[in-house]
């Protein structure tokens, strides 16, 4: 039973490939997060809008993103779109699925952050003679950003971990790379242990950096 012998040399030799996979993981997560944020702002505005078309479009997007497995979305992007003659690379398939999901989740975070600012803050700012742009720029958005900052960090960590589903469509991110390396070396346990440790280090680094920034930027109430 317990006579499995660990061979780490194979893993160390393959470390450059693992690092390159990790880079792709971070790359797709950062990009899908950035694009997701932009779309999420629009979707959040849609959910707050009186325009029915805009509202329902945003609502459907958000509901699908939040209530379907990420795996299905990646499969639909990679295999499903093929039915319409659209052939995405593994990277693009994972990227678009992550953008879709990030946008859906973040839209609700943004909407919640926006609605959590008491309307009396608007009145107070207005009573000081501020126009709408100044009210938002100096009073509402800084407070809103504090409230959505940590949920946004969580979403980013989620994106990093979820990008590992790229393994299923042959993407060369950290998991895909690990899968390829272990299948040729048969050092399954070693490769997946190291890859898991790498995910751990990446997400811890993200959380650590995030809290450093928060401490620097958010003084006062919510630091």
């Amino acid at each position: 039973m317990n006579n499995y012998e660990f061979h780490w040399n194979v893993v160390f030799d393959a470390f450059p490939q693992l690092l390159s996979g990790a880079f792709t993981t971070v790359h797709v997560s950062v990009l899908s997060m950035l694009v997701g944020i932009v779309i999420a702002v629009l979707l959040a505005l849609g959910k707050l809008s009186n325009n029915k078309v805009f509202y329902h479009f945003a609502n459907i997007w958000i509901e699908i993103a939040r209530n379907t497995p990420a795996l299905f979305l990646i499969y639909m992007a990679y295999f499903g779109l093929g039915a319409y003659g659209i052939h995405l690379s593994p990277y693009l398939a994972v990227f678009s699925a992550l953008v879709f999901i990030n946008a859906g989740y973040l839209a609700e975070t943004f909407r919640g952050g926006f609605q959590s600012i008491p309307t009396t803050q608007y009145s107070a700012a207005k009573s000081l003679g501020m126009n709408n742009i100044k009210v938002y720029r100096y009073v509402i958005l800084p407070q809103m950003f504090r409230r959505i900052y940590h949920p946004m960090t969580n979403q980013f960590v989620w994106s990093i971990l979820m990008s590992s589903l790229g393994i299923l469509v042959g993407m060369n991110e950290l998991s895909g790379e690990t899968q390829r390396l272990q299948s040729t070396s048969f050092r399954t346990l070693e490769f997946f242990m190291v890859a898991a440790a790498m995910y751990f280090v990446i997400t811890k680094l993200v959380l650590f950096t995030s809290s450093l920034i928060a401490k620097k930027v958010f003084k006062g109430e919510l630091s």
Binding site: S123, S127, L128, M130, V139, R146, F218, E221, L222
Partner: protein, 240 residues
């Protein structure tokens, strides 16, 4: 001078102000008293156009507040307002709270805005809290900050909307002391208040509101010591 002429205001089917006429001269302190829902606070919100009115006019120094052509953001600089909930900006220090509007609305340099803000903060007794965050202060201190923040715009008029009613009883005194200070400075003030003794002490005029109308108005002696109207008598017998 603030002239309020025949002001009507409804929220949907509910008519809250049913024709209010009131003049407030420069240097005057006018207190508005009355039961909850009588329209006192709504009138204040209408004076600085946070709420629209349905008919009538509110004229501040010759400018019609609700005229579409009026630059309301400019006019509001003349109408300092302090709310029941102090509404300090939690992401800014005490000094930044008070210096924000002079800097970004009046366009003063940061140094000048902070100089004015510091002066007002010292005036209300917060000179030792300049770099504190408001959420770490008591309600009374935050309310005094709200007063200093409004004063930093150097408005000729101040509107106070039940500024002590959300405070713990032991904190009411310090805020009322601040209002007395302003009265002594000659500030023109409209105070919506439940503090009858305070209204009696500081006001030149007291207006008793009942169901959207001014039921009785006059000097504190007339309205509070010797009310003529039955509704006023009933109200005062309940609160005194």
């Amino acid at each position: 001078m603030i002239e309020i002429k025949g002001v009507h205001k409804s929220f949907g089917d509910l008519e809250v102000l049913k024709g209010i006429d009131l003049n407030v001269n420069r240097g005057e302190v006018v207190s508005i008293i009355g039961a909850s829902g009588s329209g006192k606070s709504t009138l204040l919100y209408c004076i600085n156009a946070i709420e629209k009115i349905n008919s009538g006019n509110i004229i501040v120094d010759g400018i019609d507040v609700h005229d579409k052509k009026t630059d309301i953001n400019k006019l509001r600089q003349n109408l300092g307002m302090v709310f029941q909930q102090w509404n300090s900006f939690p992401h800014l220090t005490v000094l930044e709270n008070a210096a924000l509007a002079p800097q970004i609305v009046k366009g003063f340099s940061k140094e000048k805005a902070q100089e004015i803000a510091t002066k007002e903060l010292i005036h209300v007794g917060l000179g030792d809290k300049l770099h504190e965050y408001p959420t770490r202060m008591s309600g009374g201190q935050q309310q005094r900050l709200a007063i200093a923040r409004a004063l930093a715009m150097e408005p000729p008029y101040m509107l106070f909307d039940e500024v002590t009613s959300a405070l713990d009883p032991e904190l009411v005194g310090e805020v009322l002391d601040t209002l007395r200070l302003l009265r002594d400075d000659g500030m023109t003030m409209i105070c919506v208040t439940h503090e009858i003794a305070f209204a009696k002490e500081v006001s030149d005029k007291v207006a008793f509101f009942h169901e959207g109308l001014i039921e009785e108005i006059g000097t504190p002696q007339q309205v509070l010591d010797n009310p003529q109207r039955e509704r006023t008598q009933q109200f005062l017998s309940k609160v005194l």
